[in-house]
Each structure stands twice: as C-alpha cells, then as structure tokens.
Subunit: 129 residues, 2 copies
DNA sequence: CCGATTTTGACAACGGTTTTCATTCTGGAG
DNA sequence: CTCCAGAATGAAAACCGTTGTCAAAATCGG
C-alpha cells in the first residue's frame, strides 16, 4: 500500500517551499493522520528515489524536501524569510558549469545551485518594520 | 593560545580537498597530537568565523572544511572520486544569480554553487579500468 | 609565585536520521 | 471466510556528527 506515500506527496504538492520530514510528520499528525515518523522518512526516500521530489540539506544539517512542478533539471530561488520557492531554469549556469568543468579537464559534470534572497512581500515587511 | 587552531589550519592548508572534522581529528591523533575532538570542532568554527576556511555540507549531512587560497568569493569544482578541488571564480554565475533574483523581485541575493565532476586523472583510471 | 582568565578535552546531551523487530495489513489460494 | 506469505507500518532503540558542560590545565598580568 502506497497510501501513506501518496499522503506525504500530497503535503509536498500543496506546500509552497521546502518542508522538513519532521515538519511534514507534525502536520500529518495534526491533520489526524495515524502515521509514524519512520514511515514519513521512508515515503520521502521512496519519492526522492523515484525522482518525484527534490531533496537538499539546510545549513544546519536537516534534509528538506519539495515536490517540483517539472521533472526536468532546474534550480530554486528561495526566500530566506518565508521559505517561498520559485523554480528557475538557468541555461546560463548549466553552460557555465560545463565550461568550468571542461576548462579543468573534468568530465561528467554535475552541479548544485541554490539562490537565496528576500521575496518582495518580505522585503516590504522588513523595510516597513 | 591558538596553537591547536593553527595546527588544524595547517592540516587544511596541506590538504587537497575538503576534510571532515572527524577526519582531521583522526589525522592529528595519528600524527601524535594530543588534541580532543571538541577542540578540533572549536578550531574549525573559529577559522570559519574568521573567514579563513570554507564550510559546506555533504549529502549525508557531514560538515566538510577547506582552507581557501583567497578570501574572496569563489566556488569549487570538486572531483567526486578523489576529492581534488579547484577554486573557480564565476562572474557569470554571480550575475545570473542576481538577475534571477531581481527578475522575481527578490532582494539581498546570495547563492551557493558547487560543481562536481571527475578529474582528468580519475577519468583516465576509470576508462582504463 | 599567585590569582584571573582562557583554553582544553573527556564525557554527556542533543537532534535528525536510520535500523530493528514485532505487529498489522494486503492480496492470493483453498 | 480462513490461512498464509510477503510487504508495510511504527514505537523505540541505535547511530552519528555535532554541541554543550564543567573541571582541570595552560597562560597571562602583576
């Protein structure tokens, strides 16, 4: 039964930004779901393995997950204040990464790129307050 | 006394790629140094705070450190096989990150970029073996 | 040398993640 | 429906890197 897995994915699909496993677990429990933390982790791993969600590590070592709109390669622009996330394509970076790798004779280039900033709403709040 | 701190930095300076705290600790002990793991962590934090070393998280949540040649902003091209690291400047990425942020109205843009690949030596080994 | 301050490091605590293992659920066979 | 095998589940323990605690040791100023 992948019932729980679907439930976990559902949370992610309806979330704006990245969510942590514990976060998702807490929400499911407060929604009344009978699910264990273990199962949340397992569902998350399964989804990540299936390429249905993205995973990345925060600076404090927590894994965060997000259901991405597309299955294609892209990066994220994340608001450091509210967590709002925008998916961005970056042909320029892809080319840059390839070029940099090639320049040093490296092959099979991959890369991780994350852009952080303060979103318009949060900027407004910040400058107002 | 920053004796230990210097010792820790020394290890990093003479290392090719990124090293983990535990890794550094192990090496110092096997070199005969009388030092505690706690102190290694503290030294690493101090060095990172002083901007003398770079820190990043591996995919499995471990923090790894590296003494960088320059104090200016740059990124890393890391061999996924042997860990060899090349510091690369990427004006193009900087501009791209700024542009992407601005395009969505985000301010105070920062970014993390890491490029991974297989270095020439390791490529040779791989194709040979 | 003496006291104040800092540094050190063994050990415990922490927190997120993973493993363990007994229980529950599922689906097919009889 | 009952029985069984295999998969899924989840509570609790184990793990592991990291951080905090606190007493002992080193260092500095006088």
């Amino acid at each position: 039964m992948t019932n729980r897995r679907d439930a976990v994915r559902d949370i992610l699909v309806h979330s704006e930004g990245f969510r942590s496993a514990q976060d998702i677990y807490a929400q499911m429990r407060s929604d009344g779901a009978k699910i264990g933390l273990t199962t949340v982790y397992r569902a998350l791993q399964a989804l990540a393995d299936a390429g249905q969600i993205d995973v990345l590590r925060t600076d404090d070592g927590e894994s965060v997950y997000r259901a991405c709109a597309t299955g294609t390669h892209h990066h994220h622009l994340v608001c450091r204040r509210c967590g709002r996330t925008v998916e961005v394509a970056g042909p320029a970076v892809e080319r840059w990464a390839e070029a940099v790798g090639a320049e040093h004779g490296f092959t099979a280039i991959t890369h991780t790129v994350e852009v952080f900033g303060t979103c318009p709403s949060c900027s407004a709040i910040a400058s107002a307050g």
